[in-house]
Symmetry: C2
DNA sequence: CTGAAAGCGCTTACAG
DNA sequence: CTGAAAGCGCTTACAG
């Protein structure tokens, strides 16, 4: 096995110096077309590939972005990461992917490791568990550009790309009201988690706007998972309240509710309009919930990356900007594009 | 803003040389406990973080793995990437994530970029489109360790971690037969795509084993997406064949079939046992297909990474090894663990 | 146990 | 347009 060629190997063959080779390869205006061509020819002949590690060290530009997500094996984040990857690549950056597993400690360690790797910027979605913001303050101190996406910490001086949970919830619940539902229950998350709080506020906003009194009996709080939906629904039944629609704080909560209905009274499944925030990932295929608020993961990833790169390149400043990505209210159905023979996930 | 501290900053404070500092920080046996402690104290006082780029250049170890997946916003691959990330991290590696978008050209470019970044090894799942294997031969030449996962190219001298499509299909179809189905149709993919071919062979194996004659009328071929399932089912109906079970080459194909049944005869949905290869990502929540072959994405990622790291560290050799990860045949239901309040994908 | 020397492969000024 | 010098921040071998 031959050794990997380096700049000097090309230089020697041409009786020039490696500086010129380096410049030629990067199309530096200093170099004549003729030399460039010769250099490139030899380079491809030898199979030369620049050592990006060396380049990073001298140029102090790694062309690398660090990403921290709470989890990756979840539809929403997988889409976000797809959007990040795609946009970063177009701009000539590679991404180092890291997963915090909703763990504050791991999140901190990943951020530190990424900084040590000299990433030029960070894209992070904060773990649910995170309370201590020291690591973010440290990032500010050492001036590493960072953009939050989806889950952010306010007032730390970072830009964030998020969904307007409150408004989206308000609009969606408003639609239910317009369609004639007046006894809308809400299976909520926890108030100390921002999405839980905001979505509930949106629910309340919608009621207020349509002059419907908030009935506390119709609101049950308890988490974000399937089990929470199941328990929440049972709780509603115990309260013996009359409902014509349900707003679930997340898609899994909506599914948990479904299970509860199946057990108690399957006819409710069709009779009670179900609206959930977020979708399953097999959009429009599961016939439940009836309506859902679609969060454009890919777009969130793309916009966050765009902001980050602009910050890295000095085009914009981090200013506690909250960039809201619009959501859409979708009706679930079995329609799908029969034309596009989209590949499956095996 | 202060400049980032480097080894020399620590060294000067202690009146020793940066070599000793470097060793102390890495717990090199050369250094006395006393010195180590002093060094570490000053290091944390200054907020020192090693520059991993510089370390990589001198040690020629980047502690970095390159990953190429055909797509990321898909349940299966998201799980695989999760498994890779998790295992790599435990072993002290970071991963650079790259997406080929099922495009041969992009796949090649990503691999080249990753090599330029000096990743110590590569994990790739080949794009559907890839025909040219030059880039893999080149990897062999320059001796960059690589392991294929899920989609591989045989006989190139790389280890691969895959699912035994043929056996899994055979076993699953065999189960249908055992349960009394004897008129099992197969909505197949294409023969030139390995999973299409292998799963069909598995279907045929099962029939043979149970002495059921293969009826070509029961097999329709046409792709891997929802539309393929829909069309395939219509085609079966046109052939006017009698069926008691269906084996769909992929989960989306199974869903397409569902749509077809809904249109033509919804009673078939319960009457015709549906078995699909792969799942939706919301395991056990969609009440269809009735049975599915579960592909353990996380595990595939983990095992592939394990093999790769062992190869990097010289513990094993690449030998065209095919490591089969076992699948499971699961029955779909609405059960889910009500205890674990698993977080949702917002 | 500690250090002086050399170098990883590149790029950045700066000189000609 | 081309090149000689210096250095990025670290580690490796080798000497003491």
């Amino acid at each position: 096995m031959k050794k990997k060629p380096i700049l000097d190997d090309i230089a020697k063959r041409l009786n020039i110096t490696k500086v010129s080779v380096s410049k030629a390869l990067r199309d530096h205006p200093d170099i004549s077309e003729q030399t460039k061509n010769k250099v490139k020819e030899i380079a491809s002949e030898l199979g030369y590939r620049p050592n990006l590690i060396a380049r990073s060290l001298t140029s102090s530009k790694s062309r690398t972005l660090g990403v921290v997500v709470p989890k990756i094996a979840h539809n929403f984040f997988a889409h976000v990461v797809g959007g990040i990857q795609n946009y970063a690549n177009k701009k000539g950056y590679e991404i180092v992917l890291t997963v915090s597993e909703e763990n504050e400690e791991l999140e901190r360690k990943h951020i530190e490791a990424l900084v040590s790797m000299q990433v030029e910027g960070l894209l992070v979605s904060v773990s649910m568990q995170t309370r201590n913001t020291d690591v973010y303050k440290w990032l500010k101190e050492i001036q590493v550009p960072m953009v939050f996406f989806d889950r952010y910490i306010p007032d730390l001086g970072f830009n964030s790309v998020i969904v307007d949970d409150r408004k989206a919830a308000k609009d969606a619940v408003g639609q239910l009201i317009v369609q004639g539902c007046h006894k809308i229950a809400h299976i909520a998350g926890y108030d100390y988690i921002s999405i839980g709080k905001l979505r509930k506020l949106g629910y309340e906003d919608a009621l207020k706007e349509h002059d419907i009194d908030l009935n506390p009996e119709l609101v049950v709080e308890g988490g974000f998972g399937e089990a929470s939906g199941y328990k929440g629904f049972k709780e509603l039944i115990n309260r013996n309240v009359d409902i014509d629609a349900l707003f679930a704080v997340t898609f899994p909560v909506g599914l948990g509710t479904y299970v509860g209905m199946r057990e108690i009274d399957p006819t409710m499944i069709e009779k009670v309009k179900m609206l959930a925030f977020g979708d399953s990932g097999i959009r429009g295929i599961v016939p439940y919930p009836h309506y859902y608020v679609d969060q454009p993961g890919m777009k969130i990833g793309q916009i966050a990356t765009e902001l980050l790169i602009k910050e890295i390149e000095g085009e914009i400043m981090p200013v506690n900007l909250l960039e809201y990505v619009p959501t859409r209210l979708l009706k679930t159905g079995w329609e799908f594009p029969l034309e596009s023979s989209e590949m499956k996930n095996e």
